[in-house]
Symmetry: C5
Subunit: 299 residues, 5 copies
């Protein structure tokens, strides 16, 4: 994700960033321009099939297309925002879990504190990889109980790490290092972790319905291809830039929707999962390190 | 559900898939084309009832129709997405339940692990069948306590399996194999299973209100049938493709809404329940198999 | 509620069901048609006040009216769908409660099982009657502890039945037939029952704000009455069917909104509460009958 | 809030209720009419600045204005509906709390039953007053532990009553009149009470952003003032009623939004808090009176 | 945030507040006016490239732009409102926590009451600073266990304070000053605090997707720059105010969206965090002061 200042109009207008739909669409716009130019030349200079204003149909359908596109972008944005909320929740839940572990465990139990510090962080990195289709095992810290060769064989690495965390919590409860009340509290946190990964998988694995996508593309295609027909009478050679501009606007909205509806990739609009995973790592370590605890307990 | 790459414009525009509204509507479009052709011929060559542009009404009502259709599609999409969320939640909850069972039960209790592995999976397959109106009993694994002939008589098979799971949890609690805290935790998971099946039934059994559907169809029908009247003056013989295209656009939006508002069938836009049920089966088995547990406990 | 196949276009277009807005509006449409006919005759044949196209204002306001109507229908639909969700939740919660009672109570405690089977079912029937303004006491089964003459005097029958259920749960807890953990679990279910009836009452008792409704009706009325003024110049005698059609479309959307925003009546678009109450009765009985339990416990 | 039958079109169209925007706007409409009349006279009879149709800009901006207004009304309606939901939840939660108190307390503990009956009711009346800026202490029943002179000094009366309820619950728990499980259950109810008052305060204290409101008013003002300019060419003296009608429609939508976005006042569109508070009083008393309990326990 | 009376139309129309988009946009509007004036002069007096009405394209794209802008404003408003909800929840949760602490702790435990009074208030002030990028340590009260120099080094001050609160709760539980049931209750409150700060960070750190912002600005820019081209034929010199007004309307909607989508700053539209933090301080102190408690317990 690119951080930018949305109030800097000038730079946003005149910058042509790699992910700018203007830059992406430029080749297609030129093609459309040439097509329209040929068409217009033919009609104006060679034959004159017809007269009378026919922008009516394109006006009407343009509004309908605008409506459809805006709704589509909106639901794509909802998915993007849901993905962001899920990662926000991940930051919260890992923080909460670390805070609770820190408070619940006996003060001198460094071993189990390290266990959680490591497993929570690894869970997040495994989840990031899982959503991008490829887990980079080098990002994970060594887990004594889960050797890397085991992870390599597994189909769903985050699940396995969560199960390990869950078994650890249950052990602590069985050994009475944490009470039943504390166990119920920790249970909710682990459940939250697996719910988050599940919801992210849902967003990732479900594009909008196939028929819908087919329809949108065909609608835009036919609309654009027939635009010169409707506009030449009123616009003559001005039809060329007009068609290019309308094409730019309509297809941009569709393109942006396509980009943001799957927010877990590495595009410029995708969520900054690298950065958030790193922030979680720092947060969890800061909370689980012994410093602040000693401050509070007065040691 | 068909997986596809939404960024491949070319193939999406020129492919005519079985579920493409273009292909579905082609016969009706040709009919409408013939109707308009006859109408136009009559008006232009035989009689000349009237003159003056009357696209105004169709422009105005076209926008209103567009609004109504887009909102309709939107609420159909919400149902589709809710159905997807429910199945996503099913994946999560079954995972969570398996993880908890794995952690709670004594290490050597293979019998009860198998019970849950089997019953959770059967619950999912029974639910899939229940939503499609026909449970395929061959997909279920043999359940000792619930013979198939009992299931055949039952009205609501998922309910019976859930009750069996619930009774098992209660037994474990009564026999103190799991504590009260653990029982409360498992209770939430079973409740989630029955809530999910209930919500899916709600989506399946509730089409949009009858009056609404009657109105939409009548509106679209009258609108399309009178379009030639409004367009002939400006478009002459061009009215034929224009009416066909407008018809394609408007009816497509309605058709897509109809298809996606009931997402539990076997159409191309319906949810991949087969695949998700299989994924649940694999997940639950992977988690409840003893391998990873031994890794964690160090055996 | 009428079940129908939304994909049968032909029958939906040519059927004129009792709840079809076309049939409901037919008399008003004829009136409007006569009014417009008189108006048009006057203007075209008797006087000629003015010339020049004035469809502009009706086009502009028509779109604004369309927007307002579509949003209104949408929020009415949200209420209808919320009502449906609440009854779906009622089905789920009663199921869950029955499953829990079945699992919690000692195997031979038929008396208390019958208590819950009867009281849960009666709660649902009392709620149905309460929402329709008239409880049919004949639908309720005899409740030993709550004689019918007591119910007749009560202001809020569902409340009294819920209190009785709650007191029963508390008794079971005090007598240690269910544990504290089980009591907390049952508490949530009873709370859900009263929350559902409260939410349904909210939908039933709150029409859209008075000013809003006044405005909508006045807007539609003035718009329709002035339509002939705006359309005669371009449409001459065609104004008559045009005004009738526009009237049909706009008023239909408002009518449908009015019908579905209060979904607890007995209209064709209202929720099938009879059927759902019956389904709950069957579900609760099936779950609380002893058959399947014996299967699971192996007796 | 005014209860009315939304299906009575005739009376709604021809009634001019105090809260009808038509009546409220009548003076402004006459002013606008005079302004337009003067303007039109000047342009048609005295000078003739210009010719050519210029309704284009007002058509375009009218649609944009319609969109903005409809969205604004929609979010105002959401606030109104949220306020209604909160009061609906208040009715539910107080009912639930009363039912639980009734079930939990020993049968002969009339003193504490009266405490809750009085404090819950007072909480609701204090909340009503708090939201309207003025608590009417005469509506509160005498509370032994919280003398009126104490309440008069307090900044946030509902908070103080809630704290008193909370302390009472804690006392019952400490004295083992209710168990830990029952205490957790009651805790949720008290929390719900304070959450509801907090959410109502949020709605009350937060108008839509200042810039947004400034913009809306300026947009509507400039739009209306320039309307005659755009419409005179096509409409001549008809411009006068046209401008008045468009003014009525657009400003009505804004006015309704303003009225319903703060639903806790005493306007005709505001929530019937008096009536709901009274209903809560009756419900809580009915539930906490000993009658029905004796029915259930068989005494 | 500025409090104002949204019903005072007159002052809202004629006031030019610092945050009024009219005032903000005035320089740009004058520039656009000059540009259009030059353009119009050139076209009308010097050259005459073309004739024929071409407002069609700007009408069509204007509606599409309106749709996109309105949706954008709407989602910005949703963020603003979510931010407001979060701070509302903060007010509630801190109140609840204070009420619970007040009820749970032994009556004479002033020390721990002061601890919570101080730490809760500090948490809120630290959160406010954290969201504005700069914590003003002078606003925090002295915390014995967390010396200021420690806080200065910390990356995430609210986290550290929350951890300290959590450790304190756990201590109280370990020392049996509060029971397990009470601990579970307090746990939810602390979790709520960290969830709120997390959600606020999400809103703060996530502008709308970069491509979307780039597209909006380019669309508005090209639309405005080409407006004179489309309007001169019909409007001649009137084009100048028309373009200025359309520019004002469209860019205002975008500007307002930009302002309200990040509601934690110090602009006039931003949330009144100062005031809310102060209110929390007063509430927490009022509740945790011993006065009212004594009233209830009768001392």
């Amino acid at each position: 994700m690119i951080k930018y200042n949305p109030k800097k109009w000038f730079s946003l207008i005149f910058q042509f960033h790699r992910s700018d739909t203007f830059r992406i669409l430029l080749p297609s716009m030129i093609l459309i321009g040439l097509y329209t130019a040929g068409f217009t030349y033919l009609e104006l200079e060679v034959v004159e099939w017809r007269d009378g204003a026919t922008t009516t149909v394109h006006s009407l359908l343009g509004i309908v297309l605008g409506l459809v596109l805006v709704f589509r972008t909106n639901s794509a944005y909802d998915r993007w925002w849901e993905g962001r909320k899920l990662w926000g929740a991940l930051i919260n839940e890992t923080r909460n879990m670390a805070m609770k572990i820190q408070a619940f465990l006996p003060e001198d139990d460094l071993h189990n504190r390290q266990f959680f510090s490591k497993y929570i962080t690894n869970y997040v990195y495994a989840m990031k990889g899982h959503l991008r289709g490829k887990i980079n095992l080098a990002e994970l810290e060594l887990m004594q109980e889960l050797p890397l060769q085991e992870l390599e064989k597994a189909k769903h690495v985050p699940n396995i790490i969560a199960t390990a965390i869950y078994i650890k919590c249950n052990q602590l409860y069985r050994r009475q290092l944490i009470s039943g009340d504390q166990f119920i509290i920790l249970d909710k946190e682990v459940k939250a972790l697996t719910d988050i990964v599940g919801a992210c998988e849902r967003i990732k694995n479900t594009p909008i319905p196939y028929s819908y996508s087919l329809f949108m593309k065909k609608f835009i295609f036919i609309y654009t291809m027939t635009m010169p027909l409707g506009f030449i009478t009123s616009f003559q050679y001005w039809t060329i830039p007009v068609v290019m501009f309308v094409f730019y606007v309509l297809v941009s909205i569709e393109l942006i929707a396509e980009e943001i509806e799957e927010p877990f990739g590495v595009d410029s609009n995708d969520l900054p999962m690298e950065e958030m995973a790193l922030r979680i790592k720092h947060n969890v370590r800061e909370i689980l390190s012994n410093t602040h605890r000693s401050l509070v307990t007065g040691h």
